[in-house]
Every structure is written in structure tokens, then in C-alpha cells.
């Protein structure tokens, strides 16, 4: 049985209570993308600003549960200062971690994300792995990331 401690890891609650990079950016120069979780009403705004190819500023607005808010906060620290390509790699690795494989539900580790040679290290984001055991909450954890994904597409378009 998946216990609450699998879901509410200490670092997740830390990011929930003290969210990093919360706020807004002027648009323009920043790009703002909105995301909704139609199941629970969580709403998020991801503000992105690039310096050349590098993500120089990122801010998160909106409201949601501890999982969506902490995931958004951790995402900002994971992608700030990275190039768009690097950020997309992190995004891909995170989404792979959040996809439900039968093995996850049985307790086996999911297949590693290699994408070429070396697996991407997700660092603190690994704390969100336990969310997969609570399938209803996966959409909470991925809301910021999907919104960020759309934001990158809008900027690149």
C-alpha cells in the first residue's frame, strides 16, 4: 500500500510552503502561458523570458494543491539558467518518470530514461516519483510542466 510519506516527501512540502520563483514577469518581454487541470480546478501561469537561447527568467502564478505547486516550484529551479534544448531534456525525463507503467504500480522501478547515452539526473525532482503511485495526482504534478512545454513551443514558434 502506498503511504502518504511516498507522496508528501519533505522536499515537496518545503517547495509547497516556500515556493521558488513565484510571481509574474512583464509581458512582453516575457511570455505567459496558462494551464488548467480540468479535474480539480488548479490553474497555473508560467512566465518565461529568454536571453538568447537561455532561460533567464521564470515565474509561476496561479493556485493549486501541494503537488502541483511544489512540482512547479521544483521545475523552475531545474530549468532556470538552462538552454531551451537542455530544458526540453529535463521536461522529457520528468514526463517519462510521471508516465504510468505497470511496473510502477507493482513497485518495480520504471525503465531508465536514456535518450542517447547518459540518463538525465532529475535531482530533487526524484522526490515526485512517488506521485505515480497515486494516479489521480499525476495530472497535478505534470500541470506546470505541460504548461511550460506549451510556453517553449509558443516562444519557438
Amino acid at each position: 500500500m502506498a503511504g502518504l510519506e511516498d507522496l508528501y516527501r519533505e522536499i515537496i512540502l518545503d517547495h509547497y510552503r516556500s515556493p521558488r520563483n513565484r510571481g509574474e514577469l512583464d509581458t512582453p518581454p516575457a511570455n505567459m502561458t496558462e494551464g488548467f487541470n480540468p479535474l480539480c480546478g488548479d490553474e497555473i501561469r508560467v512566465y518565461l523570458e529568454l536571453d538568447g537561447d537561455t532561460i533567464s527568467e521564470i515565474r509561476i502564478g496561479g493556485q493549486g494543491c501541494s503537488i502541483s505547486q511544489s512540482s512547479a516550484s521544483m521545475m523552475t529551479t531545474a530549468v532556470l539558467g538552462r538552454t531551451v534544448d537542455e530544458a526540453r531534456q529535463v521536461l522529457k525525463a520528468f514526463k517519462a518518470m510521471m508516465s504510468i507503467h505497470q511496473g510502477d504500480l507493482d513497485g518495480d522501478p520504471p525503465p531508465g530514461v536514456t535518450d542517447g547515452e547518459e540518463p538525465i539526473s532529475l535531482g530533487d525532482l526524484e522526490a515526485l516519483r512517488g506521485v505515480v503511485k497515486f494516479p489521480v495526482r499525476i495530472k497535478c504534478a505534470t500541470l506546470a510542466w505541460n504548461t511550460f512545454d506549451h510556453g517553449l513551443d509558443e516562444i519557438s514558434a
Partner: protein, 422 residues
């Protein structure tokens, strides 16, 4: 609203009722299940499960087709279920009972069939701030397609309809579409008053009764409305079956919603002749087992008596509001009307600053099932100024021990988030 509870009402025996529901005997996460999400769907008594099982085991056949024994039994069982539903809501005729997939389809049927035939640019559909998306989006769709205006009846601070400006709101209105009970706040609405007001300006009145038919005696002639939509799975019946009741003369004049088998009297290479009511609106093989199961659910509720159901839920709601307030004080906010007579057993809660999703997750560890989210009523959530609530909704099988378990689990949830290292 016939919510009165006379002295002669037989008290509901909650323990006996609970024993009828096999699912309520199970445990969740090591605790006995405490099911408080009947506003989303009710559990099913063994009497209903048995009827569905027997249908498939003994009389499964398509209806209105075969002239053989089991086909006749299946057809007869289905049409008997229609008559049971008719009596349950005091409808004048069983031919006015249209079976749909759910309440959403019932409302869409009216929007597509009656709406497209009767509404045009500038016509107004008046709905309320309490509505479920099922009674909002079909009208938004007509607005986009036809230029129909969707207008809203505002709410008072405690979540009742604000009818102060009703006369001016009714200007240009062709249809008043309202829920009889809110799925978020439990608010009971003055259906008859609004039906009368609609008729006074030449408009029709549609009632989304999904949250009241399972909980209160229903009399569509007393409401004097024109359409009523509700769903089977919230009233002890199976999923996949809903009901539209409509006045015969309106249904007769309306074009069919979907085309196919069953809904025709004749089909030629040039065209078709629609079937009579109610089959005109029931294209294709109907959900036979579900219809028969709904009939069994009606029998089950009748055996308890809807006056007793309402009396039980009022008493339990009163107990819940009092004990939760006593124990949790300002930590707990329950939205909606405070008077039990004005509401059903739906408690939309905000507890401390714990997000409803997190709250319901922790409650689940104690087997307590509540719904977290916007409850398909985003305009109402915006009026309340919240993104989500945790909703406990009561039914016939709930008793004071369920409320006590909820109350205890709330305290534990508070402790869990308070004791985490910051």
C-alpha cells in the same frame, strides 16, 4: 419543494440500509470505508445488483423486436421500469419518460431538439449561479451557434438564489433552466416559483433534478415545470441511464435528437417517419439492463419512502453541521445555506489552508471518501472565490459514525500537515 417531513414518516433504519450495500462492507487502507461521495455517485444495494444480474442470466434479449418469450420478458421489464419512474416523479404519462445516457444527455436533448427548433438570435436562456456544467455548456453551445444569450441568476452570500431582480432578469427569456439542488452547496431552489415566473413571461422551465430526485420526494406536476432531467446512478441505480421527463405536447412537437433504429415508425429511401413517444427520442438499442436496474432502484427507494429519506438526511446534515462546527470551529468553513431546511446533505468544506486535493488524499488514508475539486461548477467556484472544495455528500446509508469518522480524519489531516518540518 415537498421537503416537509410529517409526523407519520417512518424513521429510516440506517444500519439496515447500510447492510443492503455490499460495497460498504469493504475496507480501504485498513479502515472500514466511509463513503461520503454520493453526490458524485451513490452505491448500489444488493436488490438492484440482483435484478441486473438476473436480467443477464435469465431474460437478456433485445427489446421491441423479437416475438419470442425472453424478448417479451425483457421488453416488459423495461417498460415496467418506465412506469415505475413515471410514478416516482408523479409524471402524468409513462410516454413522457425518455431514457437517456445520463442527465447531461437529457439536457443536451432539450438544447439540441427544442432549442434549435425554437431559439434564435437574441433569445435568452436564464440559468443560475449554482449550475453544474451540464446545465451551462449546452446553452453556451447554443449561444455560439445561434446567438442565444445566456443570462445568470445571481446568488446571495450564503449560496441561495438572489431573486431580487427576477423581473428584469426575465426580459426576453424563452427558457429558465435551473437545478433543484446544488451539487456543490446543497442549496434547494424554489422550483415552483421560478416555473411560475417563467410561464408568466411565456418561457419554459427546465429543471436539472440530478441532486434532488435521489434525496427528496419529486412531483413534476407540483413543480409545474416543462422538462426535468436526472440520472440513475446517483439514486442507487446503475451508471449509463438517465431520464428526461417532458410535457407530452412539447415532446410531440420536438424533432428527434438522434436518428437510427427504434426511433422510427417507417424508413424509406426518401426519408423516415419518427416513432411515437417515448421511443422517438430513444434511437438504437437502449441500455436495457440499466433501465431495469433503475426500476429496481426506484423500488428500493420506494420501500424506504422518500419522506423518510429526506428526514434522515436532514437529521444527519444537522448533526454534521453541529458536530463539525463544535470540534473544528474556525478551522472549518462549510459553504452554503446554514438552515438545514434550505439545503440537502452536501457539505463543501475548506479546512484550514489545506488544499482540498491534499485534504481528500489524507482522509483517504482513513477510508474516508470525499470529492475534491471544482465539482463541474467552475462559475460557482469563482463566485465562492475558491479554486476547489472538499465535498462530503450524504445519503441513506450514512449515519452519525460516518460524520464522526470524517471529523476525526479532519483533525488527523490538520496534524499531518502541521507536523511536517517546515
Amino acid at each position: 419543494m415537498s421537503a416537509s417531513t410529517s409526523q407519520t414518516t417512518t424513521p429510516l433504519d440506517a444500519a439496515a440500509v447500510k447492510a443492503d450495500f455490499p460495497l460498504l462492507q469493504r475496507s480501504v487502507n485498513g479502515s472500514p470505508i466511509v463513503y461520503l461521495d454520493s453526490g458524485a455517485t451513490s452505491q448500489k444495494p444488493r436488490q438492484v445488483l440482483k435484478v441486473i444480474d438476473t436480467y443477464y442470466h435469465e431474460i437478456n434479449a433485445n427489446v421491441h423486436r423479437g416475438a419470442y418469450h425472453i424478448a417479451e420478458l425483457a421488453t416488459s421489464a423495461m417498460e415496467q421500469a418506465r412506469a415505475k419512474v413515471q410514478r416516482f416523479i408523479a409524471a402524468p404519462s409513462s410516454s413522457e419518460i425518455i431514457f437517456t445516457k445520463n442527465a447531461t444527455e437529457a439536457i443536451n436533448l432539450v438544447a439540441h431538439s427544442w432549442g434549435r427548433a425554437n431559439l434564435s438570435e437574441g433569445d435568452v436562456v436564464l440559468i443560475t449561479g449554482l449550475e453544474h456544467h451540464a446545465n451551462i455548456v449546452p446553452w453556451h453551445q447554443l449561444a455560439a451557434e445561434r446567438g442565444v444569450e445566456v443570462r445568470w441568476i445571481p446568488l446571495t452570500d450564503d449560496g441561495r438564489l438572489d431573486l431580487h431582480d427576477l423581473d428584469s432578469l426575465l426580459e426576453g427569456v424563452r427558457l429558465v433552466a435551473l437545478s433543484s439542488a446544488s451539487n456543490v452547496l446543497g442549496t434547494l431552489t424554489p422550483v415552483r416559483e421560478l416555473a411560475d415566473a417563467a410561464h408568466a413571461v411565456g418561457a419554459l422551465c427546465l429543471v436539472d433534478a440530478s441532486q434532488s430526485v435521489p434525496h427528496l420526494p419529486t412531483d413534476v406536476t407540483e413543480w409545474d415545470c416543462d422538462f426535468v432531467a436526472f440520472t440513475g446512478h446517483k439514486m442507487c441505480g446503475p451508471t449509463g441511464i438517465g431520464v428526461l421527463w417532458g410535457r407530452s405536447e412539447l415532446l410531440e412537437a420536438m424533432p428527434p435528437f438522434m436518428g437510427g433504429g427504434e426511433m422510427i415508425l417507417d424508413v424509406t429511401m426518401e426519408g423516415f417517419t419518427p416513432n411515437e413517444l417515448p421511443w422517438k427520442f430513444e434511437a438504437g438499442t437502449p441500455p436495457i439492463a440499466q433501465i431495469i436496474g433503475l426500476g429496481a432502484a426506484v423500488d428500493y427507494l420506494d420501500s424506504i419512502g422518500m419522506d423518510s429519506v429526506r428526514a434522515h438526511e436532514m437529521a444527519l446534515t444537522d448533526y454534521a453541521l453541529r458536530t463539525l462546527a463544535d470540534r473544528h470551529g474556525d478551522d472549518l468553513l462549510v459553504h452554503g445555506p446554514s438552515a438545514v431546511a434550505d439545503r440537502g446533505g452536501v457539505l463543501s468544506m475548506c479546512y484550514r489552508d489545506i488544499h482540498p486535493h491534499d485534504l481528500s488524499q489524507v482522509l483517504d488514508q482513513r477510508g474516508v471518501c470525499v470529492r475534491a475539486g471544482h465539482h463541474c461548477a467552475k462559475p460557482l467556484m469563482r463566485l465562492l472565490g475558491v479554486g476547489a472544495t472538499a465535498r462530503a455528500s450524504l445519503y441513506i446509508y450514512n449515519d452519525e459514525s460516518d460524520i464522526d469518522a470524517l471529523s476525526e480524519a479532519l483533525t488527523e489531516a490538520g496534524d499531518f500537515f502541521a507536523h511536517q518540518p517546515a
